[in-house]
């Protein structure tokens, strides 16, 4: 069973008062939260409320205007070239997979092991194949991304992120470009990861996944966290009408 109380484990990621504007539009308007080791946090909310931008701020693919990010009490923001080291510890899974199209499945997983971690090719290959087997893609090791289904592609991108042995993985709407059938196989991999104790931040519209896997659900609107709590809290006593409305649209499905 999923543990919903994680007050004992230590905080590994701190997000403090993140602001981000694009021109006049304030995308993130002071977002703060802590992430404990082994925790799964799920971000939900209407589109365009800054959830994806928030994830990108955490690994600095988007640089926030103000606020700070801390990984194990080391500052990720303003880290200069050190950011490449932090990013190795912060995996990311994208909505559009962003697999390296010119490399085979195993090549996708091992490339960063070789080029970033400096692993020798034999060890990298071994580790890459192990990660592929974790997501059930060992038989696709030599396939190119264009030869994979959407579900396989997303599982491959999870394997690519996992291979770096990250301390936390950011999932940016990992199933939004998949049909329900393929969504299921990706969510299954993520569920297994969560159960195995991986620390995960997930932006998703999959309420079933959020309710069954998250330790905490954060509801975002207009660049702010407007509601947060355990799945049971969110489910039984939504403080905001919009939360109810948002969840309602999914229960009606």
């Amino acid at each position: 069973m999923v543990m919903h109380e994680m007050t004992d484990s230590e905080i590994i990621l701190r997000v403090e008062d993140i602001h981000k504007c694009y021109g006049e539009t304030e995308v993130l308007n002071g977002v703060s939260f802590n992430v404990r080791c082994g925790e799964t946090k799920v971000f939900i909310g209407p589109s365009g409320t800054g959830k994806s931008t928030l994830l990108r701020c955490i690994n600095q693919l988007t640089v926030p205007d103000s606020g700070s990010i801390w990984l194990n009490d080391e500052e990720v923001t303003h880290s200069g070239p050190l950011i490449n080291q932090f990013r190795q510890k912060i995996g990311m899974v994208f909505q559009n997979f962003n697999l390296f199209d010119h490399l085979t499945a195993v090549g996708n997983v091992e490339i960063a092991l070789i080029r970033v971690k400096g692993m020798n090719k034999a060890d990298a290959r071994k580790k890459a194949l192990l990660e592929l087997s974790q997501v059930g893609l060992l038989d696709k090791a030599n396939a190119y991304p264009a030869e994979l289904s959407g579900g396989q592609a997303q599982r491959l991108s999870i394997a690519r992120a996992l291979a770096m042995d990250p301390e936390v993985i950011l999932f940016d709407e990992p199933t939004s470009s998949l049909d329900p059938e393929l969504t299921r196989e990706v969510l299954e991999v993520m569920r297994r990861l969560a159960r195995a104790g991986m620390t995960m931040l997930v932006v998703t519209h999959e309420m079933g996944f959020a309710l069954s896997v998250a330790n905490e659900i954060l509801f975002m609107e207009h660049g702010k966290i407007v509601e947060q709590g355990s799945p049971s809290d969110i489910q039984t006593s939504p403080a905001f009408a919009r939360t109810r409305q948002f969840l309602g649209t999914f229960h009606d499905d």
């Binding site: 693919l61 994208f94 559009n96 390296f100 490339i111 970033v116 991304p145 264009a146």
Partner: protein, 225 residues
């Protein structure tokens, strides 16, 4: 064959050895253009503004001037002033190379810019430096996409190379002219020259076709779209 007079047959070896000069020019120019074009395209896409403007000016000049003007400028002007010992063959190779570099840079720039932004994001998210991401993720894809356009530089260079006749490089056309001057029969001689150019063109395209196939990746580029 009866249309080939003994005088022409005797001069064929001399004509044929012009193939090596022509091919040498083309290969050197392609290589120089490649070595210059890739860095130039990278500067255009990723480089600092002032450098980017330098490259754009370079491209503007070398695409904007007729080859003959460039050849004369380098052969009669620049080389005599700065490197008087360099012969016409090398000057021609440099001019053709500089010129194709301008075109190649634009080919590579377009290819790099066609790679989706997500590729860079994914590479950076794994901890790659910008340089590492360009080298291991962006360029291998961009070069594949550029290949069909890039191989098109070969027939262009091959045909353009005959202009080097004007500065006395002993390539195919120059040798053809010399033979015509010596023994006449321009029709036959120039037809032979033309056939040689066509064969060189065909052979080169066959080789580049093989290279394209060799680097084709499933679902990438060919035919799917």
């Amino acid at each position: 064959m009866s249309i080939l007079s003994p005088a022409i047959i005797d001069s064929l070896p001399y004509l044929f050895s012009g193939i090596f000069i022509t091919l040498g020019l083309v290969i050197l120019a392609l290589g120089l253009g490649l070595m210059m074009g890739i860095p130039m395209s990278l500067i255009q896409v990723y480089g600092p503004r002032p450098l980017e403007y330098c490259i754009r000016t370079y491209i503007w000049i070398f695409r904007g001037l007729p080859i003959l003007v460039l050849l004369f400028l380098f052969y009669f002007g620049i080389f005599p002033m700065f490197a008087p010992d360099v012969g016409p063959f090398w000057i021609a190779a440099v001019v053709l190379g500089f010129r194709t570099a301008a075109y190649q840079s634009e080919i590579f720039r377009g290819a790099i810019q066609s790679i989706s932004e997500g590729q860079m994001l994914a590479a950076r998210s794994l901890g790659m430096s910008r340089f590492c991401a360009i080298r291991t993720v962006i360029l291998p894809q961009a070069l594949r996409r550029a290949l069909p356009g890039w191989t098109n530089e070969y027939p262009i260079l091959l045909t353009d190379s005959s202009v080097c006749y004007a500065i006395g490089v002993a390539e195919l056309l120059t040798r053809g002219n010399q033979i015509v001057a010596r023994i006449g029969d321009p029709m036959t001689v120039y037809i032979i020259v033309a056939i040689l150019f066509i064969l060189l063109n065909y052979g080169g395209q066959w080789i580049f076709g093989r290279i394209e196939n060799r680097y084709t990746i499933p679902g990438y580029g060919h035919g799917d779209a």
